[in-house]
């Protein structure tokens, strides 16, 4: 009978908290959106599943050996850990108090030696770091996974349209206004007392407006790791929603005549130009913004491999096998941040709302910039391609093409929109670099 009771106490059903149950449902909703609605399935399937795994009670997949030991270890072990941390536990207090005390001790940030000592105690009695925790440590906290994905994106990107019409870079720059406006919005909400975001957190939220998954994850892992789960989910969910968010804004801000503007044919770009471009970009980054060097450096490297044409095997790996492997690890690691205590907060709703605003403002800024350029120069620019300035490659460019076709069935804007689209990737990486420089 006693054995049965122990088994019951160790079961998930007994230990499941309300928060965990809610988060498992959230994970299921993400899976539904990914599978049934095709919302960025490549990322939302691993993220949603990781979220479910992270909230399985007692399994501790998303926490370190130390945290897990604090939650479930026997009292003797707790005392050993306390002494490793240089504290004593009140022998009269209940076991739950001990666990709370220990948790507080660890959160307070003891010296690295003490922390290692306590960790060793936990490992010695047989607790191990959870799988998702290891994924997070290795892939996200180090910044490696987003950077490798960025390399793969570089290896998939054709800069031809951008090189043929470099002015479209301005559209990519303008669309980054979404990032900074949202940052200011988040700071404003905190100043009004509605939310409580620090400047770092606001910056990490703003970068959702860059519409670039790896960049968002990279920035938030550096500036606000506690919000990473919500930020990544918001970024990928809204990227999937680009075809719904953008068209109304595009139609609101342009007249029918503007949407019908046909653009001049792009000139062919030589192979040499395409090879020199990533190197030129790299030199500029090195000269002006070394903080963007990790992101843009990997991006340029991927692109150089693609364009130089002598390392096809490496290009192939970077844009297929490697990016797929890293996506799996990255998705699960982000899912590990969907733990009830950090995700189920008012702040998450704030992040979702701000993320939407970021996309809308970025789109509008891109379009308005295109209209301005139309006034100032003779070469016509269809304002719709400005909306593609919010990276989200290639979704945003396809949306611009589709809305253009609705007004004029013979006007194919896709190639023209790819220019601002990849410019947006560069722009948001630069914006990320500025933020890391300023706040890091």
């Amino acid at each position: 009978m006693e054995k049965l009771v122990t088994l019951w106490y160790g079961s998930g059903a007994y230990n499941l908290t309300l928060g965990q149950a809610v988060m498992i449902v959230v994970g299921m909703v993400l899976l539904y959106l990914a599978i049934a609605k095709k919302f960025e399935p490549l990322l939302l399937v691993p993220i949603g599943f990781g979220g479910i795994l992270a909230n399985i009670p007692e399994a501790g997949l998303a926490i370190s050996a130390l945290d897990q030991a604090i939650e479930v270890a026997r009292p003797a072990v707790l005392q050993q850990m306390a002494s490793a941390l240089g504290a004593t536990l009140d022998p009269l207090a209940a076991e739950e108090t001990w666990r709370a005390t220990l948790k507080a001790l660890v959160d307070e940030g003891p010296s690295p030696d003490q922390l290692r000592g306590a960790h060793d105690v936990a490992v010695n009695v047989g607790y191990g770091d959870g799988l998702l925790y290891v994924f997070y440590k290795v892939a996200v906290e180090s910044g490696i996974a987003p950077l490798i994905i960025f390399m793969g994106v570089g290896a998939m990107t054709d800069f031809g349209p951008l090189l043929a019409n470099p002015r479209t870079l301005f559209l990519g720059a303008a669309a980054q206004f979404g990032i900074f406006a949202t940052l200011f919005g988040a700071v404003g909400m905190s100043a009004m007392g509605w939310m409580d975001f620090s400047l770092e957190q606001s910056a990490a939220i703003g970068i959702i407006g860059g519409a670039d998954g790896p960049t968002s994850i990279y920035v938030s892992s550096m500036l606000a790791p506690e919000l990473l789960g919500a930020i990544a989910v918001a970024a990928y969910a809204y990227m999937a929603l680009v075809p719904m968010i953008q068209p109304p804004i595009m139609k609101l801000l342009t007249t029918r005549r503007e949407r019908e503007i046909t653009m001049t044919q792009l000139r062919p770009v030589s192979k040499l130009e395409k090879i020199v471009f990533p190197l030129a970009l790299l030199v500029l980054v090195a000269l002006f913004l070394p903080d963007a060097a990790p992101l843009l450096g990997m991006f340029c490297f991927g692109n150089l491999m693609r364009e130089c044409g002598v390392v096809e095997r490496l290009t192939d790996t970077a844009q297929n096998a490697l990016i797929n492997i890293v996506t799996i690890v990255l998705g699960l690691a982000v899912g590990s941040k969907l733990m009830a205590e950090s995700f189920l907060a008012l702040e998450t709703l704030g992040i979702m709302a701000l993320g939407m605003v970021a996309f809308a403002i970025g789109t509008a800024a891109g379009i308005l910039m295109a209209k301005l350029m139309n006034v100032m120069s003779k070469m016509p620019i269809n304002p719709l391609i400005g909306a593609a300035g919010v990276s989200a490659v290639p979704m945003a460019a396809r949306v611009a093409n589709k809305v253009g076709l609705e007004s004029n069935p013979h006007n194919f804007l896709l190639m023209h929109a790819m220019g601002p689209n990849v410019a947006g990737v560069i722009g948001s990486a630069v914006a990320a670099g500025v933020m890391i420089k300023y706040l890091g």
Binding site: R167, L169, V187, A191
Partner: protein, 84 residues
């Protein structure tokens, strides 16, 4: 008071960030334009030809002959049919 400082910091970062993005991308536009001009001036067509040459290897002669025969037959048939 702290709120006001936070707002101010946010505004500074916004102006600084947006300004920097524009400056950087403007410099990039100039670099690209200059690069294209130079490359097209000093290393013009040969590059282009080398590129297309490498991308499309010449078809084997035998296949070529076969292709010509097929096209010839098709042309012949078309002309015959449309003469009437």
């Amino acid at each position: 008071m702290r709120d006001f400082e936070l707002l101010e910091e946010g505004l500074t970062l916004m102006a600084l960030g947006m300004g920097f993005v524009f400056v950087f991308l403007t410099v990039l536009v100039m670099t690209i334009t200059l690069m294209s001009l130079l490359l097209r001036r000093f290393a013009p067509e040969p590059v282009e030809q080398a590129a297309t040459g490498a991308a499309r290897p010449p078809a084997p002669a035998q296949q070529d002959a076969e292709l010509m025969a097929v096209i010839g037959a098709a042309l012949h048939r078309y002309r015959q049919r449309h003469r009437r």
